[in-house]
Symmetry: C2
Subunit: 353 residues, 2 copies
DNA sequence: CGACTATCTGAAAACGTTTGCATCATGTCA
DNA sequence: TGACATGATGCAAACGTTTTCAGATAGTCG
């Protein structure tokens, strides 16, 4: 019971678990000293820190993040995912978790695609006192964004623009993307373009369609058609394409809202309809998923810079976390046209234009 | 200060957050009553529960899962993922999160593919006091499994068998899968089979290889070759295949450790080498990812029942959570051969055998 | 050598729950 | 009617941290 060892006379409750208390006892310092030693910005001398670490190491102490989260930050980031169909999301998830881990936080992954609606998902994730929330491939009703803000939890929306200016958004300008697709197809001499969309009412799809169609009209193309696509999946693309070709006026070029749909569509055109790509039908998608650059598809597409978008999203989220009254902002990332062999080279067959 | 309202005279600390204390005050009951009302197996009358819920609803109370986790379960399940290359994992993740959410728990997703090694990943996830841990596409060193068990956290390993019998494992018998592939190729009259593997030292790959080669030998085929594949990716399959065909003895059939590698390989064979599938080269993969059934690839493969495997894994994990001294078990799920058009029909060209 | 900072350190009060124990109704049975 | 079991309720002590506040310990400067 020496006076230099203030924790020694504390009853050592040794019920298995090793906590700060045990570390304090072992190192002969106070509990607060241990806490500070483990906190990067705790005021604590080097000697103390070394002593504490040594004791902690010796008795195998690991901090309890739940307990820590009760007083300070949980270091949990919620990731809300609704679209598990789009193959691009595997790399996106990998990048998100990785970027979050780099900041010594971790990812609470919520699947809002099936049983859960978005409101329930948000409520659940908030129960874990997440430090921030990333919402992917869907937009958040104003009401929910406000609910998060009331709890002081910043939200960043990934990949969808949202009408209200409440939350920070990272996405691409899909109207421009639609325009790019229209220009490419017309330049390559296609005459009857079609658009195959994703889920109804989703801003990415509607924006792409709007940009596409408006540009067609603007350039004097008055012969086009549109097909609601359904899910972001191979099968949806396949079927939408078959449907498109059952009509009397068959398109000679298709802009798909999505690469995976474009792949399904290309297979329908080649193997179901027996037509050639790009000679008979030109195809262009969006995303540039891995499969797009495969030799089998070699798809012309508009690349979304997913990896950059993810990093930007996480950066923005942590900015908001560290500075709570930063105003929300809209960040638009540029897309690039990747011309491969699912469209004819510009100029060829363009005589009629 | 009526005697029927024990919480009314408690100082109402009203610092914004609404907690059990506020609910108790609102409902005029004790804090413990509120807690019990919110816990399905808390002893509590219907009248009380109704009263508490009404008060909670009125003032917008949401339980704090972090605080709850401090005393009882965290309702967090860790999911360790190392393989973000294999496209099958998107659906697997979707199924895992969904199955976990059905049990009113949530998924802490740890990416152990890049910066983090497995030991660090496990340690991190344990800091969140997860109720259980799912380890996918990798095995856990005995030391780590023991560390988890010491903390009373059950572990289930998904998709890999592990040498030690410490943790519960859900996987397929990949030796059998290798045998199936060998039989199919020999039956179809291929003579010089090759195996293209995934990452070195991974049990799935080595098992498939072993089953495959042993069966070839057993059936008198003494002409075969093997190629280490590298990652589970399209590019790895593509390149391994090119390498294979640069040798003097070109195989006429390839068993890939993985569908996505098989797709890369098929493209190499068709577009890089100018050979026909299945006439010149037969191809078989494992997994039956969505892409395998696309018209472009239409790949013969061995289907792993991923969805069932996920459910079995989660079932097993929760069994262990609820009954801590259940012994670990090995669960082997049956795979099915899906014959498509990347292999010749059995019998054709089999004269030489 | 004394006063004054600057830096470390410790005690104790949170953080929001759950739960063991004690109490108190309420109903049951002889 | 009294003894007793049953179930609902409240009190208060955990759970493992962080953090405020105050005290102690050097360090600096005149």
């Amino acid at each position: 019971m020496s006076p230099t060892n203030p924790a020694a006379n504390r009853p050592a409750r040794t019920n298995g678990k090793v906590t700060v208390i045990e570390v304090a006892a072992e190192a002969g310092v106070s509990v607060s000293a241990v806490s500070r030693a483990f906190n990067p910005n705790g005021s604590c001398s080097d000697k103390m820190r070394k002593k504490v670490f040594k004791a902690a190491e010796k008795i195998g102490y690991k901090p309890n993040r739940l307990a820590r989260g009760l007083k300070s930050r949980s270091s949990l980031i919620g990731i809300l995912v609704t679209d598990f169909d789009n193959p691009a999301y595997l790399a996106i998830l990998s990048d998100f978790t990785s970027a979050i881990q780099k900041r010594n936080c971790h990812s609470l992954l919520i699947n809002a695609s099936q049983q859960l609606n978005i409101a329930e998902a948000v409520e659940l994730v908030m129960q874990y006192q997440v430090d921030g929330l990333i919402v992917t491939s869907t937009t958040l009703p104003q009401r929910l964004v406000e609910a998060c803000q009331k709890q002081n939890t910043p939200v960043v929306i990934f990949g969808r623009r949202s009408r209200e200016n409440l939350a920070t958004v990272v996405c691409c300008d899909n109207v421009i993307n639609g325009r790019m697709a229209a220009d490419l197809l017309l330049d390559a001499g296609y005459h009857y373009p079609a658009f195959v969309g994703g889920p109804i009412g989703v801003s990415t799809t509607t924006d792409r369609q709007r940009g596409f169609i408006n540009r067609l009209i603007q350039r004097g193309c008055d012969h086009w058609t549109v097909c609601e696509g359904g899910r972001h999946s191979y099968d949806a693309g396949f079927e939408a394409t078959c449907k498109l070709f059952r009509a009397r006026d068959r398109p000679d070029a298709i802009f798909y809202a999505d690469d995976i749909m474009a792949c399904g569509g290309m297979d329908a055109i080649r193997y179901e309809l027996g037509l050639r790509v790009p000679e008979d039908v030109g195809i262009i998608g969006v995303d540039d998923i891995r499969l797009a650059s495969s030799r089998a598809y070699n798809l012309t597409t508009i690349r979304q810079p997913f990896s950059d978008m993810v990093n930007t999203t996480v950066d923005a989220l942590f900015e908001h976390i560290h500075n709570k009254d930063l105003p929300p902002k809209h960040i638009t990332m540029p897309c690039t046209l990747i011309v491969r062999s699912s469209t004819r080279a510009p100029g060829i067959g363009a005589a009629q234009n």
